[in-house]
Symmetry: C2
Subunit: 216 residues, 2 copies
C-alpha cells in the first residue's frame, strides 16, 4: 500500500515537472513574440495554453484518486495537497505567459517594448524564464538547497521591476501612455511568474522537509 | 462520523464567510484610502492583512485535520479540497487590496486617480467590493443561483477596464506617465479581485452541485 502510494506520488511529480517544462516554453515563446512582434508565435503561446490546462486537470484527477484510494494522513496528506497547489500555480504561470503574448499580439506589427526599455525588460523576461527552468530541476531532483536559493534570487526581479519604473518615469519618456501601460503590465506579469516560481519551489522544500522556508 | 464531518465542514464554511467579510473591509478601505489619499487608512489595510493570513492558516489546519481524521472520499473529499482553494483565493484578494492601499500610500498627500478617471475607477472599485459582498452571502447561503449570476456580472468589470484604457489612451491625457501606470495597475488589481470572487463563487456551485459551472 505504502509503495503504491509513493509510486503514484512519483507519477504526480513527473507530471508536475512536465507541466513546468510546458510553462518554460510558454514564457520563452511569449517573450520572443513580445520582443520581435511575431504574431504567429504569440498565437501559438495562446493556443498551447489549453494543453497546460488539460495537464493540470489530469494531475488534479490523479491526486484526488490518490487521496480517495490511499487515504494518506499527516505528512503524506500534506504532500498530495501541496502537489494540488503546485499544479494550480503552474497553470497560473501559463496564464500569465498568455497575457504577455496577448500584449505582443495587440501591438503587431509594432513591438510593445521601446528600444531603451528593452535591456531591462529582456532581463526581467530572462530572470522569469530562468526561475521557471530552475523550478523544473528543483521538482525533478527535490532539491531543497536550490529551492531556498531561488527564493533569495527573487530579489533580482524586484530590483529589475523598480528599475523599469525608474526608466518609465524618467523625464525624457517620449513613447506615450500606451507604451507605459504595456511596460507596467508586462513588468507585473513577469514579476508574478517569478512569485509563483518561488512559491512552487517553497512547496518542494515543504514536501521534502515538512517545513515551509521562512519568509525574509 | 458523518455528522461530525458535516459539523466540522460547516465550521470551515463559517470561517470562510468571516474571512470574506475581512476581505470586503479590505477592499472598501483600500478604495477609501485611494480616493481620499488617506495614509492612515492605507496603513490600516496593510496592517490588517496579517489577520487574514492568520485566518487562512487556521482554515488550512482545520481542513487538514478533517482530511486526516475523517478521511472523506469522493464528493466530501472534493468539498474539503475546494474549501482549501477558496481560502487561498480569499487570502489573495486580501493581498490585492494591500496592493491598492500601497499605491494610495505612495501618492500621499496627492491622490493617485486623476479627477476625470475617478468615475470609472470608482465604478471598478464598487463592482469589486459588491462582488466580494455577494460572494460572502453565496458562501453563507450556499446560493448556487446567485453564484452563477455573479459569474455573468464579471463582464461589467471587463467593460470598465476597457473603458479605463480608452480614457487613459485618449489624446488629451495630460497627467503624465506615473498616473497612467498607477491606473493600469489599479485596474489590474480590481479585475483580479473580481476574477477571484467569481472563482470562489464557482467553487460554491461545485460544493453544492458537484458540477463546475460552464465557462462562457
Amino acid at each position: 500500500m505504502r509503495e503504491a502510494f509513493h509510486d503514484q506520488l512519483d507519477g504526480i511529480f513527473a507530471d508536475l515537472s512536465e507541466i513546468c517544462g510546458q510553462v518554460e516554453v510558454a514564457v520563452r515563446e511569449a517573450t520572443k513574440a513580445l520582443m520581435t512582434g511575431d504574431v504567429h508565435t504569440a498565437e501559438q503561446v495562446i493556443g498551447n495554453d489549453k494543453a497546460i490546462d488539460a495537464a493540470r486537470e489530469r494531475v488534479d484527477d490523479t491526486a484526488f484518486a490518490l487521496l480517495s484510494l490511499q487515504q494518506p494522513v499527516a505528512g503524506d496528506l500534506r504532500i498530495v495537497v501541496s502537489a494540488l497547489r503546485m499544479v494550480s500555480e503552474l497553470e497560473r504561470m501559463g496564464d500569465l505567459s498568455v497575457h504577455v503574448a496577448k500584449i505582443a499580439r495587440l501591438r503587431v506589427p509594432s513591438v510593445a517594448v521601446p528600444e531603451e526599455l528593452r535591456p531591462t525588460m529582456e532581463k526581467m523576461a530572462a530572470t522569469a524564464e530562468d526561475m521557471v527552468r530552475r523550478v523544473r530541476s528543483i521538482i525533478i531532483d527535490r532539491d531543497v538547497e536550490a529551492a531556498i536559493e531561488l527564493g533569495r534570487d527573487d530579489e533580482v526581479m524586484d530590483q529589475l521591476r523598480r528599475k523599469s519604473f525608474t526608466e518609465l518615469l524618467s523625464t525624457d519618456w517620449h513613447h506615450g501612455v500606451e507604451a507605459a501601460v504595456d511596460i507596467a503590465l508586462l513588468g507585473r506579469y513577469y514579476e508574478r511568474i517569478a512569485d509563483h516560481a518561488v512559491s512552487v519551489a517553497n512547496r518542494v522544500v515543504f514536501v521534502v522537509t515538512g517545513e515551509v522556508p521562512a519568509k525574509d
